[in-house]
């Protein structure tokens, strides 16, 4: 982290990077819609969630700049995601063991 904000040069993400990420997001949407049409049984939901996680991490890292941000923002997001994951894991420990 830099102390002096004046010397803090903003990181400008180029147009091409954003368009590439957008195309990847559209491709992943096509995959998730196609996969949903085929019956993979129990893992269909898992595939859909994994694709959603990949898509949101693309948005988070590139569109929302987390990849290029100060470490404090990465810690912010990391703690939030871990907290939410913990809540889900503990809740399902309960339900799955009933």
């Amino acid at each position: 982290m830099q102390q002096n904000n004046e010397s803090h040069k903003p990181h400008i993400v180029g147009y091409a990077t954003y368009i590439f990420v957008w195309l990847s997001l559209l491709a992943l949407t096509a995959v998730t819609v196609t996969v949903a049409g085929i019956n993979f049984g129990g893992i269909t939901l898992l595939i859909a969630i994994v694709i959603a996680i990949v898509k949101s991490s693309l948005v988070l890292n590139i569109f929302m700049h987390i990849k290029f941000d100060d470490v404090v923002f990465k810690v912010f997001v990391g703690i939030a995601v871990l907290t939410l994951t913990a809540v889900f894991v503990f809740t399902f420990f309960d339900y799955l063991s009933r």
Partner: protein, 219 residues
């Protein structure tokens, strides 16, 4: 008398410079941090609803599966593409402003707002169709169904509804940003307000990325 008047006169430009010049208090990192903190609370709001969805779905797998067949996958897919593209245009709008291209930035922001309206119009037709078929919370058609299906449609209306409210708020925020750029209050040197508004819009997109497969692609 004369001397104090002179001091006031010489002081004034100093004060003005202090307010408008480089000594003006600006804290873009703090502004961004504030927005991220707010987004964390949004994560908890939607996270809680996703948790309810997860547990009820676990308890009523068949009912959730059959109820989801009634949702319109085509409109859902279309709205996903619309929101992903609007995320792109708002991101490009920030880059355009950073590179000093105000016109392109305003244009891209206007496109983003148009996409947001398009999303809501699709949502309107989708909900109208379902309400026309008698499927809405408390309808006689729905209350005669199984608990699982009632829960599915209840969650569907609440979660896509709360998300829709966020889209409306996003339209208001992005419209303000558009006006700020036009009025030169958001400039290539001072664009933090546009940047954090973009963060809000991307979060709305991320939430839809999860809503879409969980409601529309359950087959």
């Amino acid at each position: 008398m004369n001397k104090s008047a002179e001091t006031i006169m010489t002081d004034k430009p100093v004060i003005d410079q202090h307010l408008q010049g480089e000594h003006e208090h600006k804290d873009p990192v703090g502004a961004k941090m504030g927005m991220w903190l707010f987004l964390m609370t949004e994560l908890l709001l939607f996270g809680g609803m996703f948790l309810i969805y997860g547990t009820y779905r676990y308890m009523n797998p068949e009912a959730f599966h059959s109820a989801a067949q009634e949702l319109n996958t085509i409109i859902g897919t279309f709205n996903t593409i619309i929101l992903l593209t609007s995320s792109l245009t708002v991101a490009l709008s920030i880059t355009a402003l950073q590179k000093g291209n105000r016109t392109l930035s305003v244009l891209l922001l206007a496109i983003t707002i148009a996409f947001a309206f398009w999303f809501l119009i699709n949502k309107y037709f989708e909900w109208s169709h379902e309400i026309h078929n008698g499927i809405y919370p408390g309808s006689s058609e729905l209350t005669n169904r199984t608990n699982g299906e009632i829960l599915f449609f209840g969650l569907y209306y609440v979660m896509t509804g709360v998300h829709g409210i966020h889209v409306i708020i996003g339209i208001v925020i992005l419209s303000f940003m558009l006006a700020f750029i036009v009025k030169n209050k958001v400039t290539p040197e001072n664009y933090i307000r546009l940047e954090i508004s973009g963060l809000y819009w991307h979060l709305v997109d991320i939430i839809w990325i999860f809503l879409f497969p969980l409601f529309y692609l359950l087959r």
